[in-house]
Symmetry: C2
């Protein structure tokens, strides 16, 4: 695997990205080439800090950075020499297989769209995110790229999420659920009603409509919804889990008896945290593009970046990109047949 790592952006400096890379190399990541994309001086300093030799990596200098405040599309035009654009160009030119970045999500998405382009047949790229549950995890998409979806987009998301769940999360025949306000057929708005009808026609393991209550009870492996709903669900889950851990910590430290109890049971809390830790799943893949793109959290530190790099390698190794291309093409063909057979006969 040849990987382009966007060293800029995010809440912490380049040394954290380089540290994450170092961790991944220690854990067995064996890339053929690692491109470190960003400001050369900052990268060289980070390599020195980590005690890594610069000649083991290809430094690709980029003068600019997309900040969190930048409006993605405009900023990419205004800053052609920004690190995320340069990283995508490496993939576009066939010099790298994958990009990992913890920068501005909108910026990464826009750069993937403009520089890589979508796979043939894919109408919209998606941000997928892996949400841990007590049993395992599910892939939620779209998590915010495309807020005005058409039914066919949701079907394509279902295909992309299924491929990712199968290949990277190792779920055989991933169960696909359509996010809705009730389980009964015919529930929901125009978008979900039509998407339901289309999903029924595919060869996906479509389990039907699901509602919020189904998310954490091991009923689905892939959840599809428009980017508005997906973004709200993702952030709501993050916020509630954090709030509950925070409350628990405060309650447990309120007096000596509770602190003693918490100390004795500390492994239980650690285990809970570990199982609900989204970092274990390495970041959010951007799916549907002509290259592998992984978005790490803006606040990611070494461990999370290492995890993102490892998962990126898995995504490349399992040919997720190509499989998405093939399976979307198949589903598109199927839906075209269905729609032709349903068209009114005009003779």
């Amino acid at each position: 695997m040849r990987i382009a790592v966007d060293v800029m952006g995010g809440d912490h400096g380049p040394e954290v990205v380089v540290g994450g890379l170092q961790l991944a190399l220690r854990q067995g990541l064996r890339p053929e080439v690692v491109y470190l994309v960003g400001q050369r001086q900052a990268i060289e300093a980070a390599l020195r800090d980590c005690g890594l030799r610069a000649d083991c990596f290809e430094i690709v200098h980029a003068n600019d950075v997309l900040t969190m405040e930048d409006k993605p599309v405009q900023a990419l035009r205004r800053k052609p020499d920004c690190s995320i654009a340069r990283a995508m160009e490496l993939v576009a030119r066939g010099e790298a297989d994958a990009v990992v970045s913890r920068g501005n999500t909108g910026g990464i998405f826009a750069a993937a769209t403009l520089k890589l382009g979508r796979l043939p047949g894919v109408d919209r790229g998606a941000i997928a995110t892996v949400i841990p549950t007590p049993e395992r995890a599910f892939v939620l998409l779209d998590a915010g790229a495309n807020i005005e979806c058409k039914p066919v987009h949701l079907v394509q998301y279902a295909v992309m999420g299924s491929v990712y769940a199968q290949e990277v999360l190792q779920v055989s025949r991933p169960r696909v659920g359509l996010m809705n306000i009730g389980r009964e057929d015919g529930k929901g708005n125009e978008l979900t009603q039509e998407a339901f009808r289309l999903l029924k026609r595919t060869d996906l393991n479509f389990v039907g409509n699901i509602e919020g209550h189904d998310l954490f009870v091991d009923r689905v492996d892939v959840v599809v919804c428009d980017g508005f709903v997906g973004n709200v669900v993702l952030k709501t889950c993050e916020s509630l889990a954090l709030a509950m851990f925070g409350m628990l910590t405060r309650e447990l430290s309120r007096n000596f008896k509770r602190r003693l109890g918490a100390f004795l049971a500390s492994n239980a809390f650690r285990s809970l945290r570990r199982r609900l830790d989204p970092e274990a799943y390495g970041g959010a893949p951007l799916l549907g593009f002509r290259g592998t793109v992984m978005k790490a959290h803006g606040s990611a530190r070494e461990r999370a970046l290492c995890s993102a790099l490892m998962i990126t390698a898995e995504t490349v190794r399992h040919h997720v990109r190509d499989q998405i291309g093939e399976r979307v093409a198949t589903v598109n063909a199927l839906l075209a047949e269905v729609s032709a057979s349903e068209a009114p006969v005009t003779s």
Copy 2:
């Protein structure tokens, strides 16, 4: 207060409703009249079971029940003598002030719409739900009644939620947030962009766009969104909280040391559960109707029903219905002025 209690529907029998009523009377509920609406024999049996005298209550016989499977509007036509319809009729005729039911939510909403009607100026009724947070709680609406909203509906929800938060949750100047996928002005889809613009013009304490991350950090008291998003948020929160409690319980019982720790810290867990218990807020008010309507959870038992009855009494005592009518009228007038002043001059 004169209250009509729908004794039918829900997961448990009429004796649970009567038990809840008994609890509320012990806790100081002082209604002028309590109508128990449902099958007379079942009600009489439940009263006997609880040791209550039938002559303290007005039994209003209704032959039918809306089940969870019933399609609301059709079922109301097919079952004119169902308990929820009879209960609403008591309010419509001015014989009761409020209805409490734990039946089919869609059925209660449809009965409120058909039998009571909306307040003048209110375009859509809403299901509001109170979601607890570490600090306090916020009112989320709409939680699923109206999935294809117009911007003006969201503005009216904001007014209704503010009145409820102020009067029943006792929040002065409730902070209203518009559920969105980011905080910046101009974020979101057409619905939220236009709703944002309108909300800015009102005299509400509108804090702007909020995202999922803002829900549990004491940033808002009222969250407005369309019924699709609201339903998903509500059920996702319920599901995740339940899953986390379940995992915690399992982890804490895994070995003796953890069990001992859990025993010592048990007050901490109790406190956490109590603070995140939605039953403390007594149910979901249906707002915007010509009467007070409270939906208790289908699985509600005595304590939750008692809480729903107490909150219903507060809602009536604080004239929430009339205040909503007045404030929606004011906001409608304001928006009409704004829209007139923005209209292109055609001369």
